[in-house]
Amino acid sequence: MVKFYDLNIPRSNDAVAQKHTLKLAQRLGYEVVAISETLKYGDEMKPAAPPCDLSSEPSGEKLQQLSRITIVLTDSTRTDILRRSDVKSYDILAVQPTSEKTFHMACHDLNIDLITFDLSDRLEFHLKYSNVQNAWKAGKFFEICYAPAIRDATRRKHIFKAAAGLTDRKGGRNLIISSGALRPTELRGPYDVANLATLFGVDENSTKHCVSSYCRALLLKAATRKQTIKSSISVNYMSDIKDEDKWKVRQSLKESERDGGKREAEEKDEGEDRKGSKKLKAR
C-alpha cells in the first residue's frame, strides 16, 4: 500500500505524551509510524519494546507501529554492536555517522537500512557524491528530520545544507523525510512534508515519494535483511501458508494436517525434479 509513513517518532518516557503524538500523526493522515530508540556507544541495547496501546482510541488500531533503532557510530572500528541478536527484534536498523570514516563505512560496508544525521550542529563532514551513490546502489536510504527545523532557526540552516548535499545530482532518489518530533506540535501533515521536499531540491514528481513509496521500499529492504537469506530466499513450512494463498503451491491442494503430510509433499518435490534442487517457497 502506498500509505504515508513517518519513520522517526522518538520514544518518550511519558506514555501519555507519546499517545498524543501518535493520535495526532494518525489524524494528519499517517498510516505507518516507527518509534525509534537511539543508542550511543556504551549504552546497553534492549530488545524492541511493544507498540503503544491505542485500542481505546477510535480506529487507533489502524495505525501500524514499527520499531526502529538508531545507532550512533562514533568509532569506525567498533561495529560489533550491529551484529547483536537484539538488533533483529527491531523492524528498521538505522545508523548515524559522525565522521567522514563512519559515513564511508555506513555507505559501503554495513548491512543497514537507513543513514540518518544529527543536524543540531553543523555536519563536520562533506556528503561526498560517491558515497551517496554507493548507498543508493546498495538500496540504503538517507533520512532528514524536519522537527529540529521547527524548534530552532540555526538548525534550519544545517538541515537545508545537508538536504542540498543529498539531492545534489540525483534529485533525492533515496531520501526519506520524517519528523523526529518530540512533541505533537512538531508534526506536520504529509502533503506539507512533500512541499518541504520541494524546498530541499527534490524533483516535483518525486516529492510525495519521500513520505510514501521510498519508505515502503525501505521497509521491504528491512524485511529482506531480517527474514531472508541474501535477500533472495526465505524458507517456510507448507503448513504455515495461509488459506487464501494455498492455490499458489500445487502440492498444498490436497490439504493435510499431519506432519507426515508435510514430509510427503517435500519427498514428492524431490522426486519430480531430477536435478535434485529443492523447490522452496520463495517470497
Partner: protein, 363 residues
C-alpha cells in the same frame, strides 16, 4: 534552487453556441459522471428562480451503503435488472486515490478499479499501469466493461472476475450510489433495495448552501468577445473572469481595491454594479441528467430575464474519483480538482472552462 514552480495544472477554454451543430457541451456533461457539487451564479437575481428550483438537485436522493462487496456489482442479475435499466453511478467513499484503492461504477456500465501495486499483484485482474507514476508503476487502473458480450455466466471472463473479487480478495467498501430508473420503470427503487437489502443502506439528501450579496461589482461580459482579444479594446482577460467566479464561489470575494491593506483584489474591468448577486451550491452525488436539466433551465432563464446579463454553472468532480472525463485517469498529486464552468449568455452562446490538476489527462 531558488525557483519553486507550482505543480502543473491545465485550464481549457472553449467558446461556442448551444445551437451549433458541433457544440460539445452535452458530450462534456455526459462524459463527467462523478460529480459532487454543482453551483449556480446569478448576477442580478435576489433568490433562486422558479424554473431552476423545479430542477434543483434537492429533488434527487442518493444512497450510502456500508461494507458492500464489489462483487455485488458484477453479478449478472444486478447488471440486467438495475444497471441496464437506468443510469447507475457508484463511487467508493472514504478512499483516497493516491493512497487507497478506489472503485467506481459508471452509467456506461464500466467498473473502474484504481489499485496500488500490492493489491494489483495479488488480485489477478489485468489492468494498465497508471500514467502518472513513472517507470516503476505504483498504481494500476483496471477497467471492466460490464455490458460487454463476454460478461455472462459461463464465460471465462465472468468467472475470472467473480473469483478475483470474491474468492481471491473479498474487497468491501462504503459506496455512494445513485440510480435513475429508465423510462416506464416505476417500481425501480424497490428492486434496488431488494437486491441490496442485506447491507446497511441509508438515504442521503443533497445539501444546499447559499451565498447572497447586495451591491456587488460583476464583470461586464460581451459574448461576442474572442478568447484571445487584446485587453486594451475593452475586452476581458478570460482567465481573470474564471478567477473572479472562483472567488465568489469560495465566498472570498473581498474586493477592497488597490489601496486596501487586507486585499487589493479588484473585479476585472470593465465591470458594472448590480443590486443582487446570488450563488447557490448543492453538494452530494449529482447525476449527469440533473446537470443537463439545470443547464437547459438556466439557458431559458437567462434568455427571458432582462436583469441577468449572464449566468454561470459550475460542476465540481470528486477529488478522489479514479476518472475525470470519459475514462481518462484522474489522480491526486497535491490537488485533485476536476471541474468545469459554463458561462451562459442570453444569445445562446457560452464560454466553457475545463480545469484539471497535475495528475490528470487533458480532456
Amino acid at each position: 534552487m531558488a525557483n519553486f514552480p507550482a505543480p502543473k495544472s491545465n485550464l481549457i477554454i472553449e467558446r461556442s453556441s448551444f445551437k451549433h451543430q458541433k457544440s460539445r457541451h452535452l458530450a462534456y456533461i455526459s462524459g463527467h459522471p462523478l460529480n459532487y457539487a454543482v453551483e449556480v451564479l446569478l448576477p442580478g437575481a435576489k433568490s433562486l428562480p422558479d424554473s431552476l428550483a423545479d430542477v434543483s438537485p434537492t429533488l434527487d436522493d442518493f444512497f450510502l451503503i456500508r461494507d458492500l462487496p464489489i462483487v455485488e456489482f458484477v453479478g449478472e442479475d444486478f447488471i440486467t435488472k438495475i444497471m441496464k435499466n437506468g443510469q447507475f453511478t457508484a463511487l467508493s467513499v472514504g478512499t483516497k486515490v493516491d493512497n487507497d484503492m478506489v472503485v467506481a461504477v459508471l452509467p456506461t456500465g464500466h467498473l473502474i478499479l484504481s489499485v496500488d501495486k500490492d493489491i494489483y499483484q495479488v488480485l489477478g485482474l489485468s489492468g494498465k499501469p497508471s500514467k502518472f507514476t513513472g517507470l516503476d508503476p505504483a498504481r494500476y487502473m483496471i477497467q471492466i466493461d460490464l455490458f460487454s458480450e463476454n460478461h455472462k455466466k459461463g464465460k471465462k471472463q465472468y468467472d475470472r472476475i467473480i473469483w478475483a473479487l470474491k474468492d481471491r480478495l473479498n474487497l468491501c467498501f462504503n459506496f455512494l450510489l445513485s440510480w435513475e430508473p429508465g423510462d416506464g420503470n416505476v417500481a425501480g427503487l424497490s428492486q434496488l433495495t431488494q437486491l441490496l437489502d442485506k447491507y446497511k443502506m441509508e438515504d442521503v439528501s443533497v445539501k444546499a448552501a447559499d451565498t447572497k450579496r447586495k451591491f456587488s461589482l460583476i464583470p461586464e461580459l460581451n459574448s461576442c468577445q474572442k478568447l484571445k482579444e487584446d485587453e486594451s479594446n475593452g475586452a476581458h482577460n478570460i482567465r481573470e473572469v474564471f478567477e473572479w467566479i472562483g472567488t465568489v464561489s469560495c465566498d472570498s470575494n473581498i474586493a477592497g481595491g488597490p489601496e486596501e491593506y487586507s486585499s487589493c483584489y479588484t473585479c476585472p474591468e470593465p465591470c458594472v454594479e448590480v443590486k443582487n448577486l446570488m450563488c447557490r451550491q448543492w453538494s452530494g452525488l449529482i447525476t449527469v441528467s440533473r446537470i443537463q436539466k439545470m443547464l437547459t433551465a438556466l439557458r431559458s432563464f437567462v434568455m427571458s430575464d432582462t436583469s441577468t446579463p449572464w449566468a454561470a454553472l459550475t460542476v465540481h468532480g470528486f477529488e478522489d474519483a479514479p476518472i475525470s472525463w470519459w475514462k481518462n485517469e484522474h489522480g491526486y498529486h497535491k490537488d485533485g480538482s476536476n471541474l468545469y464552468t459554463f458561462v451562459v449568455f442570453p444569445d445562446e452562446t457560452y464560454w466553457l472552462y475545463l480545469a484539471v490538476s497535475t495528475h490528470d489527462v487533458c480532456p
